[in-house]
Symmetry: C2
Subunit: 324 residues, 2 copies
Amino acid sequence: MIIGGAEDKLRKRTILREFVAASGGEDARIAVVPTASSLGAEVIEVYDALFRREGAAEVIAVRPESRDDAHDDVLIKTLDEATGIFMTGGNQLKLSAIVSGTPLGDAIVAAHRRGVVVAGTSAGASIQSSHMVAFGGPGATPKQRMTQVAAGLGLLESSVIDQHFDQRNRYGRLLMIVSQSPSLLGIGVDEDTAAIVEHQEVDGADHEVLRVIGRGSVTIFDPSRITTDAFEAKRSAPILASGVILHALPEGSSFDLTTRTLVPQGTLVDLEEAAEIAVASHDLRRMARDIAAADASPQALRRRMARTRKSTPPPAAPQDGATS
Amino acid sequence: MIIGGAEDKLRKRTILREFVAASGGEDARIAVVPTASSLGAEVIEVYDALFRREGAAEVIAVRPESRDDAHDDVLIKTLDEATGIFMTGGNQLKLSAIVSGTPLGDAIVAAHRRGVVVAGTSAGASIQSSHMVAFGGPGATPKQRMTQVAAGLGLLESSVIDQHFDQRNRYGRLLMIVSQSPSLLGIGVDEDTAAIVEHQEVDGADHEVLRVIGRGSVTIFDPSRITTDAFEAKRSAPILASGVILHALPEGSSFDLTTRTLVPQGTLVDLEEAAEIAVASHDLRRMARDIAAADASPQALRRRMARTRKSTPPPAAPQDGATS
């Protein structure tokens, strides 16, 4: 569960609620990892209150502050027994510097493998991809050296995640990364928005499907057909990135990460229009019957039409109070 | 010539210089249309000085301030005799409100048709497309109603141009427009950057080709394969825009607007690498000769190799001072 930062904590709380539900609701044992943050205790207090309000049974802090701490058996046991893991925002390089390649980092990866929901917001979102945006500047135009990449936890393979995407104008830097690494899929998540990645069986095969919830969008850059000069662009020059396929996905849309295609949605039906079509369809069927009858016996038809004129109107629209 | 605003006026002046050259250099008669601007006289003074410094013979103001003015025969005659037309920045809705659909507007279109270079910066860029961004907010995520479209002059058909693209974060609004109007090509031009559109013969057919100069990039959104819910997205909700093909084009790249594809570039040759390859190639040719000789007469080969060891080194690198 990849959250773009600044998830709504006070009003609708869509994302936090969905996380607690996915962690088991009343049976949820949630481990909060606040290592990215410079605040620590305060951050734990906030998420403890939030997750308990949504009904979680237990909220436990797992707060390594050094690579030594990340070998602590008690912390690792907590992760092993958690039904949900939540990584807070802050500095993703601090988080990965302390956690990646340690038994504690391995415990997060293992929990994810056995189906425990692992969520993270902001820095805690960035670290989930195989390749992590370490830091970098804003701007819509991709430029050489505008950002740095480090290794993430790899919960999501062959990808690079960016967050606060709309709010901090991070189009350019994500485009720069996928131009330099066209095997990766770029995933930009807006604030108060989450990309939920689940495994689904599609035609007998296992696919990773990304679903969007929240107020903003998830932007995907698919560079598989890119033409680029990223390997020779100099200093901080703008980079050529031609032929990137762009997907801007609002709440309710789903994207198949395995095939890199949008999952088709059912169309919304307009009830008024449906009522009009039902009436037209009734009229058409009658007209077809009349034409057939006229072919068979013109006289019989004239008699029936005379009767019809005096009686039934077309059927009522299927919705009471529908106007046209 | 579509300039994204804030073109460099003091230092390298790449764009203004190219405009004057395209207008005829020393023979250039340039008409400046400052109508978008609220300044007028000052703006004319600045561009008059700039174009004269680049060697233009004449710079003449064409400044209609009402639709009545836009019927003035003297102004229209100036446009008819100009070898270059330059529309300044300001408010593109003011410019189109005064000029579009008037004899003066028609004179600009006619000049463009007969091959006179028509340039515009900022507002003067926006008005060149068939569909014009009237105004709208910033942001990377496309949202319903975040911008308004009006009619432009249509020098560039089936397109919508946006400017200050990187600097004012206008990704979202341009994406919104092409989602609602997938017959259009979206063209976003950064500051101090120009998209120069020229007609070229490609395989016997007339193509419009866009070439980029300047410090930033030109971003193109091709929505021809889009899947979108723009027709039913409510209020200010984020819009689904899946499958848009994105091209970020820095200086030196060319894009065929007719086929909507990147024009392939010659690869830059690294001189050091070329020198190394020349040496390797010489060695390989010798090795091939030696192998052939060994097959023919092992004894003759041994004699020749003994001689060779004492004499010629491989040829010098093709560039003096090249290192490897």
